[in-house]
Symmetry: C2
Subunit: 418 residues, 2 copies
């Protein structure tokens, strides 16, 4: 007997028939003797519908009210899944974020989980009741509803798994594992049997839709065993967890599992960043802080930063990227502070894409970046910005060249499967 947290995404929850199928997958785990908690997303498309209402209400909406509106999507699916489980004869009940409670900070629309009081939850699970928990939501110290930001349901699942000391956190998605890259872009993409927390972290942070960044980072910190697997299995198929997905493991485990690993594990493309350039900023101490201080205070995540120094004028252009969802707020904040920062013009471009190659092997190998730049240059793809870490290299390119760049790199690193 094990204690398992299962998580189902929006595609798996889209409508009565799909929720019924999820209920059967969950029932099977319970029938196998496990204690089960399930974390669910909103129905596919629902969060977008709700976000759209918020934007129409007020483009600079109050994130606390935004949370009230968008948290409703997961509330609905958690209640419905509990009903479907009951229809199958299982004991089940929903636990809203504030009921568990899942305590977060008060950074509305991108809150962080601070603590989960899992006593009531564990007592319920121990009594044979399946706990159904809406992902993505929590409650602030103020008692108001918070959400964790888009894709936060994965984070909820891992946090719940850590809190109830689960043996495994199974993330059911519309893919059957983690691939070397998006199989819709590269037909020869291969499924990975294992990937390390750090690799998954880099892949998630740069647009791989499989898992959300924070969930991976939390899993790494809390040492939660995470498995990615498909929710689209036949009813007659063996239990889902007997079909191998991708296990996310630590570096040490990986060495035991997979000696013959390739240099590069995966390639991801991210179209959700926008590029902002502030021109002719005085090249003096404090100028950059005047830009990024207020953005940090507003919880806007700045990713790539490039500064072009024109020594002769004592001025500089600063280019950086922010999530597209924060673009309007970023522009408003910087417009307000135009005089304080002292820039000449603000240029924004959301038609960019970030391409990232990831691999733990990179640490001990030279030439990864060189291969990347050469392969892209050979196809005339212009690199607008670069960032690197120990296990990844990212470049910013024109959005129109995304698919081409991914294919070129998949071949250049000899990752193409059969």
């Amino acid at each position: 007997m094990a204690r398992i947290v299962m998580k189902f995404g929006g595609t798996s929850m889209a409508g009565t028939e799909r929720i019924r199928r999820v209920a059967r997958i969950v029932q099977r785990q319970q029938a196998a003797g496990h204690e089960v908690a399930v974390v669910v997303s909103a129905m596919a498309g629902e969060t977008d519908r709700l976000v759209n209402f918020c934007r129409e209400a007020n483009p600079l909406y109050d994130p606390a009210e935004y949370d009230v509106v968008v948290a409703s999507g997961e509330q609905v699916t958690s209640g419905l899944l509990a009903m479907h489980l009951q229809a199958l004869g299982c004991k089940a009940r929903s636990w809203l974020g504030w009921q568990v409670p899942i305590k977060t900070d008060d950074a509305h629309a991108k809150a962080r989980i601070e603590d989960i009081d899992a006593d009531a939850l564990m007592a319920s699970m121990a009594s044979g009741e399946i706990a159904v928990i809406p992902g993505f939501q929590g409650v602030a110290p103020t008692g108001r509803v918070t959400t964790l930001g888009r894709g936060g349901s994965d984070t909820s699942a891992v946090a719940v798994a850590a809190a109830v000391k689960a043996d495994r956190c199974d993330i059911y998605t519309d893919v059957d594992g983690v691939y070397t890259t998006d199989p819709r872009i590269v037909a020869k993409a291969r499924k990975l049997k294992n990937v390390t927390y750090e690799e998954m972290l880099e892949l998630a942070s740069v647009g791989s839709k499989v898992l959300q960044t924070r969930s991976v980072s939390l899993a790494m910190k809390e040492r939660v065993r995470v498995q990615v697997l498909s929710s689209f299995i036949d009813d007659d198929a063996p239990a889902a967890d007997t079909i191998p997905g991708t296990m996310i493991v630590s570096d040490e485990e990986l060495e035991g599992l997979d000696m013959e690993r390739q240099l590069i594990t995966g390639i991801a493309a991210d179209k959700n960043e926008a590029k902002i350039t502030l021109t002719r900023i005085a090249d003096r101490p404090g100028a950059v802080a005047a830009i990024f201080g207020p953005l940090a205070a507003a919880n806007i995540n700045v990713d790539m930063i490039i500064q072009n120094i024109a020594k002769d004028r004592g001025e500089t252009d600063v280019t950086f990227t922010v999530p597209i969802s924060d673009l309007a707020r970023t522009q408003a904040l910087l417009e307000e502070r135009k005089d304080t920062i002292g820039y000449y013009r603000m240029l924004a471009n959301s038609k960019v894409a970030k391409i990232t190659v990831v691999g733990v092997g990179m640490r001990s190998h030279a030439g990864v970046a060189a291969t990347m730049f050469r392969a892209l240059a050979d196809r005339g793809i212009n690199i607008q910005a670069i960032t690197t870490s120990e296990i990844k290299v990212s470049v910013l390119i024109d959005e129109d060249e995304t698919e081409l760049a991914v294919r070129v790199l998949h071949t250049a690193y000899e990752m193409d499967g059969e």
Copy 2:
């Protein structure tokens, strides 16, 4: 300066443009110097959509999970209206049922409000912040979400008005007041300037869509001044509260206001009842209790009851009505208890309508019922059941004859306007 609770229904909240219009109506009240709380319904159609998901999940759904699902509709509109008000420059925030808190009993899907802790709400309103409260929802002693049953948002509004000691509770609807009957059925229906709590109670309880029964009964008990008025006014029109709607007043007030009132105030039709007949029940003490005890325990409201006694057999047929929404549950409950109750067959018919004529004048006049029966008989309309109270007479007829019956009675009581 007054303290006002305003309530807007689903049609007024259906989509961005309509919510924006509601925000302007609310803003105008605040600009006039009033302290304002707003109670909102879900967008028109949303609750039906959610209820449908519940029915698909499990026809005999768990009402506690049903509440989790359907309460989301009002949660969404309360957040959105707060945003729209903020966009107009007003201070505003949403207060979910459990946040106020609006404490109810634990009769899920038809909970009753037991207490509203209005301190935080009143402090917020006194500070110039508009409180936006989702109607229809509360929180049970167990800490779980409850709903008040369909149309419960009116009840929420009156309860909030009582709790914050409001000077007035303005119920904005898609009609501009209370009419002698549904103007869509009878073109010559007239708008009433005043109607008593008791009359409104009878009209509401028998299908007038203007106000929900419990809201009127609560207003009567708490002496909340309620006004029904239209939310569909032009932006350029004078403030909505200067256009006369219908005021709901006590008997004593009415006597001062309207000496020349007609005998019958209104006629309502209700198609939301279903008729159940249990045949050949033993005519012995306790037999009826065996039927209605379990229904009461399951919070199913039985309305009309008729017992046909066949003395020769020592058996009886019992016919009664329940809300259509409870029909499946009622049938399941009675099926389970077939042996205990000892009936022969259970017959159900949801194609019935209840027609009710209401008037405080009825107390001092004979002949109201006689006029009714004669007028219906003249048109060949068969009466299946009858109930009366001091100020009303109700008859159950075939659903197909609803509109005909209402028109015939409106004319028979000389209520037709110009």
